[in-house]
């Protein structure tokens, strides 16, 4: 369902066609072109008071040409309003880091990198967070099996044949 509000009108005026505003079950979502992401996030924080970055995550669609959906969930204390910003990126493509905007993005982006292998440009410390540094593979990708693991890492570091 399309979403209409003064905010959307303003964004459309400024950014034109690279943006689609949707609402579903009372929740608002902006589907945005990858190239507009830095400007949109900056504008939402500086001019629309979305001062709290709730979550950053991704969704993997292996059959699509641009395989990943990046999702930012933002909240404004002043307006008591939440908005989701979503963009599609290809496998191997990078995305600008939101750490300069919200320091909270630091660990959230590291987790996205850990789980999906999406690189963030300008992130101060882009490395794995939950899995060990030497681990191979990114487990939340759809092709990664539910019982799959990095056997080599397990054998070398834990000294056991298999973790299963």
């Amino acid at each position: 369902m399309p979403w209409d509000s003064p905010l959307v009108a303003k964004l459309k005026r400024q950014f034109g066609s690279g943006l689609e505003a949707l609402t579903y079950l009372g929740q608002n979502c902006l589907q945005v072109d990858r190239s507009l992401i830095p400007n949109i996030l900056q504008l939402l924080r500086d001019e629309e008071q979305f001062d709290y970055c709730v979550d950053i995550t991704a969704v993997h669609y292996p059959n699509r040409e641009r395989q990943f959906d990046m999702v930012w969930i933002l909240y404004s204390f002043l307006k008591n309003e939440r908005v989701r910003v979503r963009t599609q990126i290809a496998d191997g493509a990078s995305i600008p880091s939101a750490v300069p905007l919200w320091p909270a993005a630091n660990w959230l982006e590291r987790e996205v990198f850990d789980m999906f292998g999406i690189q963030f440009e300008g992130h101060p410390d882009m490395k794995r967070i939950l899995l060990p540094d030497g681990w191979k593979g990114h487990p939340l990708r759809k092709e990664y099996g539910i019982i799959q693991q990095d056997q080599e890492w397990v054998q070398i570091n834990l000294g056991i044949e298999s973790g299963q």
């Binding site: 709290y52 979550d55 008591n80």
Partner: protein, 384 residues
């Protein structure tokens, strides 16, 4: 006294070697097996004498991949897994997940179920805060509160056990409402508990609030400003202790919270002591909510009409609740099948822990223990 030979030889070293020999800087590893880290958290501290110059958290020791598991289970099958994230407030986890899926299915739990949920969730908040208080005080060196709080927490766990058979990982709620009707004497038990625990909270306060050692160890320790809290995404009692009157139970009410009268306690200084006071006040507010809920619990069904096989329509939802530790959110993407396409958990502990470095910089090593305690993290939730 300085040894002249050492200072002379130091002049010959290049910059990279200097840090290893310079007695002023010390790298100290804390954890992952350390009683004060409340689980398996490893903190690498960079010290100048006793002063913390910087630190890095190493997490992931309890990573079980619940988000991956979710993609391979049906919606109902995943429900018990969420209890294992924040295992000291399993009821809150379950509430958030059930409500998120209900939103996705576009159903609402019946009024009676929402009241039961509210009562149990608030009881769980109390239990979580009691566990926090006991262990936090123990870390700082006060052993007595631990026995007091665990004694009283036991009464809550007994109610849980009688209600659903489990004490910690309760799996109390189902998608669409509750599976179990309250047992005979449930409201009597809850009322009795309320009467029992109110003076006990005063007792905890008597032990600590004006205790000189406690005050010295917590006042102006781990201070964080409201602005920093927002920037770092810190929520829950930590945010409120910094003076922000924000609670999801009020801001975006869920369950039956909109029907109750309660206050949001806040602090001013954003230090460890204020966070302590905020949580103590929160316990009392929880009692108020439970009292109103028990008094006003309506009759009626406890389960909404939903099909046996859950197939939410294609779409996505983000739903969050005020867990005892902060904003606990679930972002669920449905592809129209019986299994979620993606479940993302936004854990409060994980995000709050990020502010540890900011809060510890310039403080003493002993204060790091106090700050880890006051953040009230559960590593099961940090690592998921």
């Amino acid at each position: 006294m300085k040894d002249p030979t050492i200072s002379a030889s130091r002049l010959d070293l290049d910059e990279s070697q200097k840090t290893f020999l310079d007695a002023n800087e010390l790298i100290l590893n804390m954890g992952p097996q350390h009683p004060a880290t409340h689980g398996v958290l490893r903190v690498i501290l960079r010290l100048d004498g006793e002063k913390v110059m910087g630190l890095e958290c190493v997490i992931g020791y309890l990573h079980r991949g619940v988000e991956k598991i979710a993609e391979n289970r049906t919606y109902a099958m995943f429900n018990p897994y969420v209890d294992r994230m924040d295992y000291v407030s399993a009821v809150s986890n379950g509430l958030g997940y059930c409500e998120a899926v209900e939103k996705l299915l576009n159903v609402e739990a019946p009024a009676r179920a929402r009241y039961i949920r509210t009562i149990l969730t608030e009881l769980n908040r109390l239990a979580s805060h009691q566990l926090w208080l006991g262990t936090h005080a123990l870390d700082i060196g006060a052993m007595t509160p631990l026995f007091y709080t665990f004694r009283d927490r036991e009464e809550i766990l007994k109610i849980f056990e009688k209600y659903c058979g489990a004490r910690l990982t309760t799996h109390a709620f189902r998608i669409g409402g509750c599976l179990y009707e309250t047992y005979d004497g449930f409201d009597k038990d809850v009322r009795k508990f309320l009467k029992f625990v109110a003076p006990k909270i005063d007792e905890y306060e008597e032990l600590l609030t004006t205790n000189r050692i406690w005050v010295e160890r917590t006042k102006n320790v781990g201070t964080i400003s409201a602005k920093d809290c927002m920037a770092y995404g810190v929520t829950g009692p930590v945010l409120r202790a910094s003076g922000v009157k924000w609670d999801l139970r009020k801001a975006q009410p869920y369950a039956a919270y909109s029907e109750f009268d309660f206050e949001i306690p806040t602090g001013q200084n954003g230090d460890t002591y204020d966070r302590y006071l905020v949580r103590m006040a929160e316990m009392r507010q929880s009692l108020r909510i439970i009292q109103q809920a028990v008094d006003g619990i309506p009759e009626g069904p406890i389960m909404a009409k939903i099909s046996k096989v859950l197939k939410p329509p294609v779409g996505e939802i983000y739903h969050s609740i005020e867990a005892p530790k902060g904003e606990l959110g679930y972002f669920i993407v449905s592809d129209g099948s019986t299994q979620p396409y993606r479940v993302r958990v936004r854990p409060p502990s994980f995000v709050n822990l990020q502010a540890l470095e900011l809060m510890c910089k310039g403080q003493l090593v002993a204060d790091v223990i106090a700050v880890i305690g006051t953040l009230d993290i559960v590593l099961g939730e940090v690592d998921r």
